[in-house]
Symmetry: C2
Subunit: 301 residues, 2 copies
């Protein structure tokens, strides 16, 4: 997987910082997560191919996660896109986009599919042969979901030496890769573990923004490789975080610790602070593996 | 008057260019004209005070003139604005903004007044003691208006020497400034022109975008000091301009010439061209006083 953070600051776009948007690449598929104003320009700056984005996930209908969506949809049309585009987000998103397209008299050159979400329970909203995406219900001022992206485990790796040792015909190799045991001519059953190695571990990425500190997410995101968790405020503003249903850097770290994730990425910083280094320092008091998210940051895992 | 061009490129925001938006300052009032995506960031970059903008004029409901409006309105709220904001634009703009505010559950901290336009005739839509604003009906693919901003003429300037020569009492001075004649004690009437000078000429600015070449605008914008006229295409794309109801640089110049304006500002350039210098060259073949509009350009007149 490869994560590119296009924007990770709260509230309003500014000269040097951008509202929330991210691109997650999994096995050559690009998933766009949230779409604050200016996202299409950030996509250009980060040299992300518009045509490879087929799925857009919107966490909630606040402007700093949403206001770039209609422009992105329109630009896709201006570029002559023909591939289907799927949009996942809270109920209302379809009405909002369709009204804008209607008033601008600018229909899309491609099919636009809306997947409106209303459930308060985690649910699978996308699945293909390689990736599965689930919602992570969050607690914010409006209906909000985070998203969990999981690679499906690949095939097991054949232990050729072992297979040859048992004199197994190559016709059985695919069965072994699929996890099956093999029965020899003499009736002996060879367990799969003796004939194959574990597959490359399937990676997972959990996006949690915006949300107050909420332990309900832990069973859903448990053991994720990367957790992006909003940290709008520092500890000094903890009461404000509680009031506005946002989290502090320490609270993000507490969730990361309890969910046993490998790495925590911070973001959604309030623009009231002069720098963001302090967010990392505060989170690291709780959890060791902290990555300070920032606009333009991109990394593979 | 002072014009600041925040963006003057067609279609989509890009890394280095912005869709249409301008700020016109007249006697300490700021008028925002059109509001493409990213306008609020351009306002910041150009150090324009958000709090001084009380009137926003939207020409038409195409994205590159509109998609920054909801973000601008929302940011005004986040900054705690309390002053009334007036929005002028085609019918539908109110429904569009209100639906977005409803879905984001983010009401404004200030009163928002919508002035929806439907007329196909030029009409006065704003007037105070110093400025008058009229619509300029344009021909484009959707209902579109340009806007004519006119300063009201100031008082005439007293010719103190002449007034003293005729021994006129200072009590009459205001009457003279207002354009009145003065009757002396002996019954002689002194004409105002002998007692005063013409006021500083009232300036006018005409904004015409987007539109096909349309001579109907000429009587409305005649003698304007500055005409901003869209020039989406060069002469080589004249058929495309006709088809998409846009203008070429030469057509913009032809309107400027026929309307006898003092200066023509070009803009709304298609992003298909590598540079914009050629627009000026082509327009100057028709009309001499051409200013090549560009993002960040600001000038007083």
């Amino acid at each position: 997987m490869k994560l590119t953070i296009l924007g990770c600051y709260a509230a309003t776009p500014r000269t040097l910082t951008n509202p929330t948007s991210q691109v997650l690449e999994i096995k050559n598929r690009l998933f766009l997560i949230d779409c604050g104003e200016g996202t299409q320009v950030q996509l250009r700056k980060n040299k992300i191919k518009f045509s490879k984005i087929n799925h857009i996930f919107i966490s909630h209908l606040h402007g700093d996660h949403l206001y770039g969506l209609i422009g992105t949809i329109s630009t896709f049309s201006l570029l002559g896109r023909t591939t289907d585009l799927h949009i996942y987000g809270p109920k209302g998103i379809k009405e909002l986009i369709l009204l804008q397209l209607k008033l601008t008299e600018s229909w899309t050159t491609y099919n636009l599919f809306f997947h409106e979400l209303e459930s308060k329970e985690s649910e699978v909203i996308f699945e293909d042969n390689r990736v599965i995406v689930k919602t992570i219900p969050l607690k914010h001022r409006v209906y909000t979901n985070g998203y969990l992206f999981q690679e499906k485990p690949g095939e097991r790796k054949l232990n050729v030496e072992a297979a040859q040792h048992y004199n197994i015909h190559t016709a059985y190799y695919q069965k072994i890769k699929n996890g099956g045991n093999v029965k020899l001519d003499d009736g002996t059953v060879i367990e799969n573990e003796k004939l194959s190695f574990d597959p490359i571990p399937a990676m997972s990425y959990a996006f949690c923004s915006d949300t107050v500190y909420n332990e309900d997410v832990i069973p859903i995101i448990e053991n994720a490789d990367i957790l992006y968790h909003e940290s709008t405020f520092l500890e000094s503003e903890a009461p404000l975080a509680q009031k506005t249903l946002h989290s502090t850097a320490k609270e993000a770290a507490r969730i990361a610790l309890k969910a046993n994730v490998k790495h925590l990425v911070l973001g959604h910083y309030s623009t009231r602070y002069d720098g963001i280094e302090r967010f990392k320092e505060e989170a690291e008091e709780i959890f060791p593996n902290v990555i300070l998210g920032d606009d333009g940051l991109s990394f593979e895992f």
